[in-house]
């Protein structure tokens, strides 16, 4: 090709969905240019250093608002990787498969989530949540009868429950109600299952869909260790996006960051993209854009890539908090057998990665659960002896009206800090609160095959373990549409072609 600026596909925005899409399309042999007006990779899912994060707080964002807090720069600011989309990754699922199939897993490191705890409102204590059948078996907190019932439920939930009598007629029942009627579990166990094993936002989540998510998590247990979940190194979300972008580049994709888009025009079935400060315009046949990077003048071409979400999404906003602390939290001790208990206090290593769940109405009158995710030096996201605490809680419009993310989340932050073993809870060195806005209502969600400006689906607000796999499912949908638009008569290429082993590498692995 003589024209260096001519591409099959130009992708706007380097968010997780777009980055995975870029890697898949480049590997399938298309000529891809990937552009972001930000100077950093990852868009709304970036991992930022503390300096970058403070800058980010002061900028305007379509997806985030209502910022408050005390944000001063700390020493070693560059050693922090703060995720704009904190999540945990189920060990079995679309993201892990994509990381392996694409070879991106070679770039990044991952860490097991060590602990999941649940806040018990009546006692104000944090209890370790048994993550597996072994844990339940060993636990000293559960009576024998409850243990038997819980085991029966876990066997049911990790198996092929569709069509089983326990579920019949109860598919749409609220999940907590189902646990009570079908398995006669007690309230405390139910809360642990609904919020800390299945990560439901509300008590109303329907039984069948929750069971399907829970099965996914339960089957993730044991693949890499006793915890079903992983956290990526260096801020996870943004680092994973960078890995997919690098893979796209290795396959020939061209990367242009930090340039504003000056104009996009369409003629002779090609788009021409002119960037500021860039010598030559780029042209392409198919344009893929994140909803937040969408050029307004191309309304006629836009085709929203439709996806059917298997996950219940929360249609309103999410209050978020990022705090940096200098003492470890504990999030409850791990479930152990009795003879181990005496050593628990002294031998328990400092918690590096953990999740603490607050069921609804734990601390404030709320219909949704709050979640705290803590990550430390082991995830290579913080300097030594520092931890990042991410809090999130879905909020209803009525709550937002009379309140702010700071007011909503402060009691949860205080309670999470109190889990520290030191006599005085840590005072955060840095705190910010903000709101993740609900998705903009989608315009013209047409399924016609004529448009060549594909709008990739935006990640909705979902429970902590669900965005990673969803991002891959969305990317695959965009990948298929782009394939069809470019090669309408051919069978769609494989989402990830088999990895070719570099000869030099084989010798040593």
């Amino acid at each position: 090709m003589t024209d260096e600026g001519a591409f099959d596909i130009v992708i706007l925005g380097t968010g997780l969905v777009e980055s995975i899409t870029a890697a898949a399309l480049s590997k399938a042999g298309f000529k891809v240019a990937h552009i972001d007006d930000n100077a950093y990779y990852g868009a709304d899912e970036a991992s930022l250093s503390l300096e970058e994060f403070i800058e980010w707080i002061h900028e305007d964002h379509e997806s985030f608002s209502a910022f408050s807090g005390t944000y001063t720069k700390l020493p070693h600011a560059r050693q922090y990787s703060i995720s704009l989309l904190p999540f945990v990754i189920p060990s079995v699922g679309a993201l892990i498969s994509a990381l392996i199939a694409s070879g991106v897993s070679r770039y990044g490191g991952f860490q097991l989530v060590e602990r999941v705890g649940i806040y018990d409102a009546s006692s104000g204590a944090v209890k370790g949540v048994p993550g597996s059948k072994e844990d339940v078996f060993k636990s000293k907190d559960i009576t024998l009868v409850d243990k038997r019932r819980l085991m029966r439920f876990l066997m049911f939930a990790s198996g092929e429950f569709e069509g089983k009598p326990e579920l019949e007629g109860r598919e749409e029942m609220a999940f907590g109600e189902f646990l009570k009627t079908a398995f006669m579990l007690n309230d405390e166990t139910i809360a642990a299952i609904v919020y800390a094993l299945a990560f439901c936002f509300t008590v109303h989540d329907s039984t069948l869909r929750t069971l399907q998510r829970l099965r996914h998590y339960l089957r993730s247990t044991g693949r890499y260790g006793s915890s079903p979940f992983l956290v990526g190194h260096y801020g996870s979300s943004g680092e994973i996006a960078q890995g997919f972008c690098r893979t796209a580049a290795v396959a020939g994709g061209v990367y242009i960051l930090g340039r504003a888009t000056f104009s996009i025009t369409h003629s002779d079935s090609r788009y021409t993209i002119t960037l500021e400060d860039f010598p030559e315009p780029l042209t392409c046949r198919v344009l893929i854009s994140a909803a937040t990077h969408l050029p307004s003048n191309l309304a006629l071409h836009q085709r929203y890539v439709a996806v059917s979400s298997p996950v219940p999404t929360f249609g309103h906003g999410m209050a978020r908090c990022v705090a940096i602390i200098d003492q470890p939290l504990s999030f409850g001790t791990k479930a152990r057998s009795t003879d181990e208990v005496t050593d628990a206090q002294t031998l328990e290593p400092l918690l590096d990665t953990g999740i603490l769940v607050f069921p609804p109405n734990s601390l404030t009158a709320s219909s949704t659960s709050a979640t705290a995710l803590v990550v430390g030096e082991g995830t290579l996201s913080t300097p030594k002896d520092r931890w990042i605490l991410y809090l999130s809680m879905p909020v209803l419009p009525s709550e937002m009206h009379s309140s702010s993310p700071e007011i909503i989340l402060t009691p949860y932050l205080t309670a999470a800090l109190k889990t520290s073993r030191s006599p005085t809870p840590p005072v955060p060195l840095f705190t910010t609160f903000y709101l993740q806005n609900p998705l903009s209502t989608r315009r013209s969600e047409s399924e016609s095959d004529s448009g060549t400006c594909l709008v990739s689906p935006q990640l909705p607000i979902v429970p902590l373990p669900d965005s990673p796999d969803l991002a891959v499912e969305y990317a695959e949908a965009v990948f298929r549409k782009a394939n069809k638009a470019l090669l309408p008569d051919e069978e769609c290429a494989q989402f990830w072609p088999p990895l070719e082993e570099a000869g030099a590498e084989e010798e040593f692995f």
Binding site: R106, G109, L112, A251, I256, G378, A502, A504, E505
Partner: protein, 252 residues
């Protein structure tokens, strides 16, 4: 870490990143080192995630994991991931192109800003075969590693006695800059192999291996399940591929 000070037989993994202007021969330098090959008129940038090569040095064995820029440097869009954890960097320029040294200097600055403070940086003046009268005089110099910089490398036309005139960066100038900036310095030829092994061996010598071993987290930090299959070779984390169930791992 061990009191004896001796490094165990196990090899130490060292991430090495390449930087430099387009067409100075970054990939060719690596190819020469890794497989002792040279390809004339190589296409820009190889399509591998990274290449690995062992380097034996007295009592220690280093395993270099060499990362190419994959072209992401072209529009200043290298991801932070690229620099992360890099213990060594080779910044390449072309001895027949003065501007490429200027570019190399800006990459050195970028490394000092972005990369880990203990990183070992080597400056490599490549294509030195083009400015050596004897060795290449019988043939022509057409195997300049890329077409993009032909303007400087008028292949075949330079009489052997004048080939030194192709040189735009005097060795002394680059050496002085390297000394001042605290870099290792070599002139290399990916084509003839000159200086390549020396370059990587000297880097290996300078790498603070004990420091790397000490900072590599033991399995103790990996949390529950650390002793099971799936724990990675580095940093006590999880290696996704090792832990993969057979059905996912099988490529056939």
């Amino acid at each position: 870490m061990a009191e004896s000070g001796s490094v165990p037989d196990k090899s130490v993994q060292v991430k090495l990143v390449l930087l430099g202007e387009a067409a100075v021969g970054k990939s060719s330098v690596v190819l020469r080192f890794v497989s002792n090959e040279f390809q004339a008129n190589k296409e820009p940038t190889i399509g591998a995630a990274f290449l690995t090569q062992k380097c034996r040095l007295e009592d220690r064995v280093l395993r270099y994991e060499i990362w190419d820029t994959a072209g992401q440097e072209r529009f200043h869009s290298l991801a932070p991931m690229y620099y992360r954890n890099a213990q060594a960097a080779v910044v390449v320029y072309d001895v027949t192109k003065a501007t490429s040294l200027e570019k190399a200097k800006s990459w050195v600055k970028e490394l000092q800003r972005q990369a880990n403070p203990n990183i070992v940086i080597a400056l490599a003046g490549n294509k030195v075969d083009l400015v050596q009268p004897s060795a290449s005089s019988s043939g022509n110099n057409s195997e300049s590693e890329d077409e993009a910089d032909d303007a400087t490398a008028t292949p075949g036309e330079a009489p052997s006695g004048e080939s030194e005139s192709l040189r735009q960066v005097p060795r002394e100038e680059a050496q002085a800059y390297a000394t001042e900036a605290g870099l290792l310095f070599f002139e290399t030829s990916a084509k003839t192999g000159e200086g390549i092994v020396d370059l990587f061996t000297e880097i290996a010598r300078k790498i603070p291996i004990e420091h790397i071993l000490a900072s590599t987290r033991g399995a103790g930090r990996a949390g529950p399940g650390a002793n099971r299959a799936g724990v990675s070779r580095q940093e006590g984390g999880v290696n996704l591929e090792q832990g993969a169930k057979p059905k996912d791992a099988c490529n056939c």
